[in-house]
């Protein structure tokens, strides 16, 4: 098993600052999303990445603009990390017409093809085969695009995981599978229902793949391991499966307080919070406080502005309701 906790790729300071900004943005956005949920403005559900920001940020930093992200219902972070502006994402959560999908998708289905975010999928496991398909298309068309596919620890026990991993391996597809192991499914601990200790890394061998485990709360380490896997994929060397160990600070979704988790476990992981940890590293590397504070306050302003703009969005109506079932823009099933 490769354990990649220490970066082997040199990361320059500029990239490090960008990585920090990205993590702060995800942190503040998710915090705001939670507040708006408590204000009853997020009408459906929402699954936050608070605590898991280093993975979304680190992987996105290793991707090219033309690469593709496949995310889950817990996909705000992955969407924003690819450069999708905050306003349409927040407006989507609020069910407004200026939302990323005009309110038709909601929190669980964020998609911005323009930014390479090829969908957020809410049925466990389904997007792993779909990511294979995008990778197959890149391979067929001879582009060097790579598909990156995120999913959780619990997802490794569903059939689609298995089919996709084998399929990607035999066709040597340019796809990188990233398991965000946050230890928990919804309210059940994954190890209680999984035959191996590392749900992804311990299964890589079943697909002829290298077993890769990374500290998912360290953006540099994530960046590093992702960069290598993406490079391999781009070079035609086939898929990778990466298990990134992390923790969600809050509950699974909505207002779940996550009380099923032992206090010590939560405390232990909060001590490894990726955002302050990365900040400390930057300070250690000599970045001055003012630079960091500037980043933080810029992001805070961005969240504020996005909140206002999202709240000001129109309520979607009948015209949107019956639009775009079909490629011709309509929804009629008859002539």
């Amino acid at each position: 098993m490769t354990t990649a906790t220490k970066p082997t790729t040199a990361i320059d300071l500029e990239h490090r600052l960008a990585l920090y900004r990205s993590q702060v943005a995800l942190r503040l956005f998710e915090t705001r999303a939670y507040d708006l949920f408590l204000e009853n403005l997020v009408k459906g559900t929402s699954h936050l990445s608070l605590g898991q920001e280093a993975i979304a940020a680190g992987v996105a930093a290793a991707m090219r603009e033309t690469d593709w992200t496949f995310a889950t219902y817990r996909g705000h972070a992955h969407t924003l990390a690819r450069g999708v502006p905050m306003t349409p994402v927040l407006a989507e959560l609020l069910g407004r017409a200026n939302g990323l999908m005009a309110g038709k998708g909601g929190s669980m289905h964020l998609t911005s093809v323009e930014h390479g975010v090829m969908g957020s999928y809410a049925i466990i496991g389904a997007h792993l085969p779909i990511a294979c398909g995008a990778a197959w298309s890149a391979q067929y068309r001879g582009t060097d695009q790579v598909a990156v596919c995120f999913f959780g620890d619990g997802t490794t026990n569903i059939g689609a995981f298995h089919e996709a991993l084998n399929f990607a391996a035999i066709w040597k597809l340019p796809v990188v599978f990233i398991c965000e192991n946050n230890l928990w499914m919804e309210y059940t601990r994954t190890t209680e229902v999984t035959a191996v200790a590392h749900p992804a890394a311990d299964r890589a061998g079943a697909y002829g793949l290298e077993s890769i485990l990374v500290d998912g709360n360290d953006a540099d380490a994530v960046y590093d391991v992702a960069a290598r896997a993406i490079a391999r994929a781009r070079a035609g060397e086939g898929p990778s499966l990466i298990e990134a160990e992390t923790y969600r600070h809050g509950g699974h979704s909505r207002a779940d307080p996550g009380k099923y988790r032992p206090d010590e476990e939560v405390a232990q992981w909060k001590a490894k919070d990726p955002v302050p940890r990365y900040r400390a590293r930057l300070v250690e590397l000599g970045v001055d406080e003012a630079t960091l504070v500037a980043i933080e306050s810029e992001v805070a302003d961005e969240v504020e502005a996005a909140t206002e703009a999202a709240k000001a969005g129109a309520i979607p109506g009948e015209d949107l309701l019956m639009k775009d079932v079909w490629a011709n823009g309509g929804s009629s099933w008859r002539n």
């Binding site: 459906g44 998708g105 909601g106 049925i123 919804e186 309210y187 099923y260 079932v325």
Partner: protein
């Protein structure tokens, strides 16, 4: 008599049967310690222990396969599929295995099992967590399909489903989970295949199911005030289907309106309509009108979802228009 929510009624119905019959066991994702994501199984782990109430991995095929294997060897499992949309990941076990195996083996096996699932929209969960799939199940020979509309029926129909020797798809309208009613004390056991006439009127018959039942009733009240008197039928189980009650009530008024949450094409309303126009055509006084969700995936935004699923207002205006034309 105690006031009970729809979700509490689920646990009570299951507990009632688990107490009387050791062969009743339960499995599903987060059904144990967490009491279910919709809190439909709260208290069952405490009362019946982890051997009878089991949390599973996210492996819907394994969940239903396990239920099927247990049923064929003498147990009466209750499996939960968290959202009915997820039937799509284990549809094979439902339709090709559970539904067909008794017939294929010429009756050598029986499958006394219940698959419970949160069904339908109203919670702004979007297209993959809001579908009404009662027609998915109804179209498969070998499945019984039960859809209660209130807490008392939940208990009685749950008990009947658990006691039934055939596989029952038990669909719980998510938008009704919080609804409350006074429920009689003591055991409640109902009958599958018995529709209920909730209201009688001479002008038209409205047939509804699950979450659409309270809406049909409210619409009938409003229509009554405007001089159109409607019978309202709660179908309660699609298979077995209480055609005798339904046909009788349609004959009595000469008009049929169906109110469905499932999308337009091949819904149970279409099936009912075709039964009526095949069997009691000459008793009809006018067109059969179906009120359904349009044939689109369900949108997430509250405003859009409310436009999609049949509302009291849409039921009223559709019936008024049809009756006055």
């Amino acid at each position: 008599m105690a006031q009970l929510t729809f979700r509490e009624a689920i646990a009570r119905g299951i507990a009632q049967e688990m107490r009387r019959d050791d062969s009743v066991i339960m499995l599903g994702e987060d059904v144990g310690a967490a009491g279910g994501v919709f809190k439909g199984t709260v208290g069952l782990l405490d009362e019946f222990g982890p051997v009878r109430v089991r949390d599973t991995p996210i492996s819907e095929q394994a969940i239903l396969g396990a239920a099927m294997g247990a049923a064929m060897t003498g147990l009466r499992p209750i499996a939960e599929i968290m959202f009915s949309d997820f039937f799509a990941v284990c549809w094979d076990i439902v339709v090709n295995e559970i539904a067909k195996s008794r017939y294929m083996t010429n009756g050598q096996m029986t499958f006394p099992l219940v698959i419970r699932s949160g069904n339908g929209g109203g919670l702004r969960f979007g297209a993959q967590h809001s579908q009404s799939v009662e027609n998915w199940a109804m179209m498969i020979p070998g499945l019984k399909v039960v859809v209660p509309a209130n807490a008392t029926d939940v208990i009685g129909l749950m008990a009947a489903s658990i006691r039934d020797d055939d596989p029952v798809i038990f669909l719980e309208a998510k938008s009704l989970y919080a609804s409350k009613m006074d429920v009689p004390d003591g055991d409640i056991v109902d009958t599958l295949g018995s529709a209920k006439v909730l209201r009688s009127g001479a002008d038209a018959t409205i047939v509804s199911l699950g979450a659409m039942v309270p809406r049909a009733l409210a619409a009938a009240e409003e229509l009554g005030e405007n001089g159109i008197n409607c019978t309202v039928v709660d179908v309660r189980s699609l298979v077995p289907l209480d055609t005798s009650t339904i046909l009788r009530e349609v004959v009595a008024t000469g008009r049929l309106f169906t109110v469905e949450e499932n999308p337009r094409l091949c819904g149970w309303g279409g099936e009912l309509s075709s039964i009526v126009s095949e069997e009691i055509f000459y008793d009809l006084d006018g067109p059969i009108v179906r009120i359904t969700t349009p044939h689109i995936p369900l949108p997430a935004a509250d405003a859009l979802e409310d436009l999609a699923i049949p509302s009291v207002e849409r039921i009223v205006t559709t019936i008024e228009k049809a009756m006055n034309s």
